[in-house]
Each structure stands twice: as structure tokens, then as C-alpha cells.
Symmetry: C2
Subunit: 237 residues, 2 copies
Amino acid sequence: MVQQGEGGQRVRLSRDRVLQAAVALADEIGIEAVSMRRLAQEVGVVPMALYKHVANKEELLDGMVDLLVAEIDPPARDAGWKRAVRLRVLSARRALLRHPWARPVLESRVNKTPAVLGYMDSFIGMFLAGGFSVDLTHHVMHALGSRMWGFTQELFQEPAPSAAEPPPAPPPEAMAAMLEQMAAVYPNVARVAMASAHDEGSVVGPGCDDQFEFEFALDLLLDGFERLHAQGWSSRS
Amino acid sequence: MVQQGEGGQRVRLSRDRVLQAAVALADEIGIEAVSMRRLAQEVGVVPMALYKHVANKEELLDGMVDLLVAEIDPPARDAGWKRAVRLRVLSARRALLRHPWARPVLESRVNKTPAVLGYMDSFIGMFLAGGFSVDLTHHVMHALGSRMWGFTQELFQEPAPSAAEPPPAPPPEAMAAMLEQMAAVYPNVARVAMASAHDEGSVVGPGCDDQFEFEFALDLLLDGFERLHAQGWSSRS
DNA sequence: AACCTAGGTGTACGGCGTACACTTGTCAAG
DNA sequence: CTTGACAAGTGTACGCCGTACACCTAGGTT
């Protein structure tokens, strides 16, 4: 995977090539396995060479987020605030699903880059353009929270696909016993887990449609926003 | 801080003492500074000694979460589902605010301990007891997402209080210039930031009431849930 | 031809989690 | 009181990590 020119001569590194490579690598092996050393190896260079292009690992991660943000569609024009917000969030979500590393990285970021601020700015702009008061817009952005980025803290997230293979699935009869025991100790969890599993034929496993859940909550919030907006809600009241 | 008995003799370690110490240490120095080595030093023992009480660092973090969960109040009795859920979430939030390390740790957890499952089970139970269908309960739990734990992904989280002191605040006139420039590039961000800052007299900084934002979004969701419940909503429709 | 400098190298340091072989302290049975 | 077993604590070591710092080197400018 070492990047080389025709005659074996090195291709010059650049900040952009470093960031692109980092994104590709994280897509491939997972963010927790991306180290400066591993990335350097990937671009065919000694680890310290990377530091000529990014100040440190934090800045590398910031740069990766910037690349992600660039994948999110701009706001739809003439669509009405609600539809525009919905479309954009779903676009963000698509970008996020293409890059599984992005969620934890976004969560960990503390300093906002210009690209991130730009995204937030234009996001806020959609509400303001829709006639929302500055006040309501503010609270509504908080209410959206991470949904602005196309994700929510998942209740049950399946363990990340890692190089280490998971323990072998227990045999079906043991599984049934486990389920029974589970139902005894956590009856409520069992009830909703069973119900959603039933609907799709899968006995266990996620058994619920991530995208559906996401849109369910998103629409619930958007409908709430609409109601508040219509009744001229303000935070001093 | 080495734990010793009267005559200087060691106090026996135990899993519980390890976990308690880990929580206290994380409260004090921040979770990112808690290492097995640092924790061992805190309890007056060599690092490897900890492994006689927890299998590895992951299990240590799981144990810390369990301690946190134990701080959350049980569901209120005879309060109606909405009030019960609201009270409980706010109790979780209080626990979370006492332990700033908990949010990132909760986010990173992948295997649910019995204590966590127990919390979720009784949480789900509040909706079922309120007459919610299993189906609606399922989606409603997803909609709550991390709010069940008393937090949401923050839009602007202030940098964690770390040992390293932050760069000195720029002089006020430079600040004004920065704000002006910011307003030019990110007009919408500037508008909502200004407005919320204005209300509280603080020129900049968070300038918005975390608790208020949290309750705003929580109530928006709960009201949405109520509406769906009242109209007998079901996911197949 | 001489020089400058941006980009790439090599070595090293202090941290991390934890495997593995060991000593030590405690307590129950003989 | 002795003994021996087992749990608790120790010491050393390995392979990772991010990155400071001094150095070399290839290209382009003068």
C-alpha cells in the first residue's frame, strides 16, 4: 500500500493526502486502530513525517471531521424549514453511515474547526430563514443535539466490527435457555426485545431498524418544533 | 493518599474498594488521567495488584458505571408515567453532573452489565405501566436515547477542566474584534450566541442554561410521546 | 555554484495496558 | 503450634502509543 510514483520515487506528501489516507484507513480498520505510526506506514513514510503536515493527532482528527462535513449536502433551497432540516440531517446521517469512525470522533471533538462552525451556521440559518425566533432556534438546536450530525446515542450498539473475531455463537438450545433466564430477570427488556425481533423473523440481534428509529425521533422533535413555532413560543414564559 | 491502617499496615484491597477509588479519582483528576498505574498508586499498591480484583480496564469502567447507576433514584410510585419518567431522568442527570467522567464512559460502553440492564428494564417498565404498547415503548426508548442517562451530545461543550491551564484570555478589545469577525463569517451562530449571552449579562462563554436546554428537549419528547400514546400510535401505519 | 528551506529521517523518552512468574500474608486443618 | 494451600500483592518485561528534537537531503532560487 506504499504510495509510489512510476519509477519507485516517492509521491510528495501533503496535508490533504494525509487526511484522505487517514479517512480511508479509519474506514477500513476502525478508528481505534488508527495510530500515527500505522498511518505513516500506510502512506509509506516514517511516523514523524506526518507531523510536518498536521500539528498532532487531535488536529488529524479535526481534519478528518472536516472531510466528513464536506460530504454533507448543502441545505435544500425553497423546501420550507422542516423539509430542509429533515433532508439535511438525513444527508449527514448518510455521511456518518459511510464512515463509522465519525460518531465517536465527533463526540470527542472539543474545538470546532471552521468547517464545523460553517455547518452549524448554515444549519441554524435554516431555522432562522423559516421564521423561527433567535430564541426558539437556540433551544431547538440544543434539542436536536447530536441528531444534527445524523446520530443518537444508541441503546444497544452492536460491538464494532473488529479484527478479533467474537466468541462463537452459543448453540440454539443454550440460546433459548439464556433468553428464558433473561426474561425472568429483565422482563421488560425481554418484552420489547421479543416484540421487535418477532416482526422481522430474526430471533435475536438488533432486530430493529436503526433508520426507522432515527427518523421516528427526528420527526417527533420536528413536529414539536413546528407546534412551538406556530404558537409563538418564547423561553421567557 | 496511600491507604494504610493505624500502625502503617496495609488495608486489604477489594473489588469494591478499587471501584470506589476509581470513581473518586476520576471525579478528581478527570477520566482521561485515570490509568491503572495511577489508580494503583492511589490505593497504595503496585499496578498489577489491581488485576486481582478487576479483569482489565474495561471491567473497571463497567464497575464504575454500576456505581453510578446505583446513585439513580428508583422510579417514583403512583406518579403517572410522564412524571415518573421525568423525575427519574432528572435524577440520572444529577448523578451524571456529580460525576463528569460518566458521560464519555457511558458512551463508550458496549457490553451492558446487569446493573445497567436493570436500570433499562425498570425504565422500560415505567412506560409499560403507563399503558404504552410494547411497540410504542420500543420506539420511545430509542427517541429518548442518551437522555435516559441524563445527558445529550452538547453543541458547545466547554473544554474539560484539565491540569494544563488554558491559554490566557485575550484582552477585551481583541475579544471584540474577534466577535466582529466571527459575526461576519458565521452570522447565524453569532446571532444565537449573542442573544443567549445577552440574557445573562455574560459577554461570551456558555451563556446558556444547560439544565434548561436539557429539560426543554426532554419535555418536547415527553409531550410528543403523550400525543402518540393518546392517539393509539403504532409503528405499522 | 551556493544557499535556503520544506519535507523526510532516526533516535529517544515517558507513558500506557497487561502477560507471566514470583513472593508473601492469612487462615484452616492436622 | 505447625503446615500447607490459596488468595493477595510484587517485579520484570513486552509491545504499543504520541511526539520532542536533532539531523539529513532533495529541489528550487538567486
